[in-house]
Amino acid sequence: MLRVALKGLAARKLRLVLTAISIALGVSFVTGTFVLGDTMTATFDKMYSDLGQGTDVTVRGRPAFTDTTTLGSGRAMPEAVVDTVRKVPGVAAAEGGLTGYALMLDKSGTPIQPGGAPTLGVSYAQDRGLAGAIAPRAGRGPSGPGETAIDAATARKYGFAPGDRIRIVFESGKPAEFTVAGVLGFGDADNLAGATLAAFDLRTAQTVLRMEGKVDEISVRASDGISPDELRTRVAAVLPADLEAVTSATVAGEASKAVRDGLGFFTTAFLGFAGVSLLVGAFLIWNTFSILVAQRGREHALLRAIGARRRQLLGSVLTEAVAIGLLASALGLGLGLLVAGALRGLLASVGIDVPTTTIELQPRTVVAALVVGLGVTLAAALVPAWKATRIPPIAALRESAAPARTLPKGRIIAGGVLLVAGLPALAWAVAGPSRGGAAAIGSLATFLGLILLAPALVRPLVAVLGAPVARLGMAGALARQNAGRAPRRTASTATALMIGLAVVVAMTVVATSMKASVADVMERANRADLILKASSQLAAGIPADAADELRGLPEAGVVSPMRYGRIQVAGKTTSVAAVDPRTAEQVADIGVSSGSLPKLADGEVMVAADEAKTHGWRLGDEVTLRFPQTGDQVMRLAGTYTDTTLLGAGYLVTLAAHEANFSGRLDAVVLVRAAEGVPADDLKRSVRAALAGYPNVAVQDTDEFNAAQSATVDQLLGLVNVLLGLAVLIALLGVVNTLALSVLERTRELGLLRAVGMTRRQVRACVRWEAVLVAAIGSVLGTVLGLALGTAAARALADEGITVLQVPVALPLVYAVAAAAAGVLAAITPARKAAKVDVLRAVVAE
């Protein structure tokens, strides 16, 4: 039996490869994600351990809670602690260091803003033994107030060399100019995971970072014979309670973990895309095997008649599945290495630079490729294979082996029940905001129900969609008939397309609603004329001096900065916003429902009404907020507000409270309102002029702000759609495959048609229209489903800021038409094959 199976495979090499590719693409996403993740982890692990070289113990502020967003934000300590530590027996050397914000400007004055990575200003270690792998590649370390040393990547990209002058912006103040004393390397790397870095001697660093007399980290080296753990214990003993001593291993471990956690989102997202692709691929495999089994019905019946047992038959079909699965795994693994590279490019395009090193291919990745490739293929082939064994031996003697099959009752009932349960759930989710549970359950049930019932929908859909096609002539009429003649086959081919398209359309609905929500918030809650932000989406913020500068402008009536931070409340990490209570209400309407924003005092907090309700807080209650640097702070609940969309945070404190608890001094946003009688344009002009010295501040009016936000959402949507496009592509491969198999099956019929006068052109048109019809069915189902799911999802995300539901019309239509039109492409090869059918085959076959 194995022979029979393998012979069958060899005879259909092309189809084997085509089928395998559909799964391989999904597998390649899985392996690509793993390879990229492993490579990045390995790279960062090495980098952090290199950086920690020579340092045995690090002293730092003890964060009240750790979380990827708070890492490295320990509170500064007096420089005197360094001396205390130095005196601990067993300490060979100890040196204090500082890290803060420093944004370099290129030679034309444009900020050098890396995508996702920070712009660091650091102190340069005098004890080179404590400097880890950081060392000058050219020039020397900085010394004195006028000097800096910059990372090699920045120097290379922007053409800085020792001796050049460079301007640098800090958290406060206009750009200051320095001489580049040296260019720094980080072991083999040119920068720290994409971050830019400007180093100063400690004194200068304290000045520019506004940390006079302070350090935020002490690097300690042990004398010979003292273990890091021993040293850590000794150092810890002399430290005050708000400081901690940790070994380098701990520091490196935390840093790597932070990177991994940061990547977690991307990993999940990429694996999500892989899942969609694999689901689509599974449909294709299932379909291919169903057709193969149907076509081989007679062969199987004959084998049964001459004594093959059911198990042998099952084995023979599954052998083919195993071969395809193995091929898919192998192809997917190879492709995965390419995908890893492509994904890295994708991350780079959103600003996350990953240093290049050797690709990490771990055994786990190989195992995952095998398990996914084989698993999905086998699972998808199982039902068709089982059906092959149900063929009675007598079928060998019948004229037609595959009688028209109707949908099993169980499937109709299951599909019906799912739809009947899913649609109301979806409707319920659409009817009100934030009904996430109903949206999820409704989506899943509707989705599955539609998949189960799709074959029943094929005939009516073919009838309707095919009507205009049939009017085009005999080729169109035949195409319509062919599309409807094997509803299950058409359904599963179309379903594959439906899945991919539904996700794309749903994403579009969510994205459009997101954009509309931004515009709506601006319309509803914003009272400012200008919005000032850092010019890069990913920059930390803008210097506080910028706001001070504007307060002096006669055109500016109100200038109100906003800052953010991460806190923990009852063990859950959340965001806190900080505003100037006196001016905030003049630039924004946050829907205060109790208390008064202008009266908010420094020891008080305002809380989103929902949040207060969940915690059961009342006005005047004492609320404990845990800040990463200052720990638990008890604040009085002074009011509640209902509109969190503009603020983007459930907690609101004063700017002074923010300064007392966070070390960062950058404003996230500055809202400006024109003085009485000043036209908005005049305000904009004078604000821009006043901020000429702050190159990293973007000044936008509300229209510009909306446009910028839309552009960001569009960019993200584009990225997601590119990834989902893969699933659509696989689905189109499915159309190719199904058509090719159908053409093969209809060789005689095609020959007959050719004999009685169907031209090659008509044959091609017929196959092409069939492809378009199948694709159109997938498009229609996918678009409708996508609109429903997207609407439910957008409504469910109301709490995340999607307050307005906007269903796009044009874009889904474009997608649907494009997908249907892609059917033409999918039909090219099968149509050509069909046109080449030997006319005589119909006459002489059998």
Binding site: M474, L478, A755, G757, M758, Q762, V839, V843
Partner: protein, 249 residues
Amino acid sequence: MSPPSTTLLTTAARAVNATKLYGQGDSAVRALDGVSVEFARGAFTAIMGPSGSGKSTLLHCLAGLDTLTSGEVYIADTPISGMSDNDLTLLRRDRLGFVFQTYNLVPTLTAAENIELPLRLAGRRADPAWFETVVGAVGLARRLRHTPAELSGGQQQRVAAARALITRPEILFADEPTGALDSRSGAELLAFLRRAADEFGQTIVMVTHDPLAAARADRVVFLADGRIVDDMIRPGADGILDAMKKLGG
């Protein structure tokens, strides 16, 4: 062995020195070996001969379904060698009709749709009067909405015959049209072909193994080893049997 001489005007089709080789070199099979034959307009001709004698090959080459290795085939006065696939297809569609031994019908189309198929492929509709005449002649008026799977073998062959006639072709070719039918269905089909020749003046070329079928024809051409070995006008069943015996012995 000269066929009855006819003028060009009354010749529906003719083969001149038709030769067909299958395969190459020593192992080549000479399916047709210099066949020259004319088919007069309005005549019902039967082609007979032992299995493998080249009957189907001749028919396919005459009908533009296959190409000759050398020689020429004319439909009326149109030479068909060198015609493009497209021209051949249009020739088949518009000027020729076929009935094969089996598998004549598109399974997804009804009987009526199958009958109209060549016209629809040309973007035309059937002339209703002619459609009724043809359908009436094959006795299928009440089966028109059925699909092939719902028709008996004999009915299917009659649908095929109706399809072959719907375009009023210059020649109707049939390759063992009764081969898969029982004697009664076969007789019905033959009666229909005979009527087509008599009433509509339809030119028919039919390959058959059945002497009784051949006896309904106006003329019987005998093939053996790719050559014409006999050519008789209305030989009657006895004459045919004699000729077959001669060939067999």
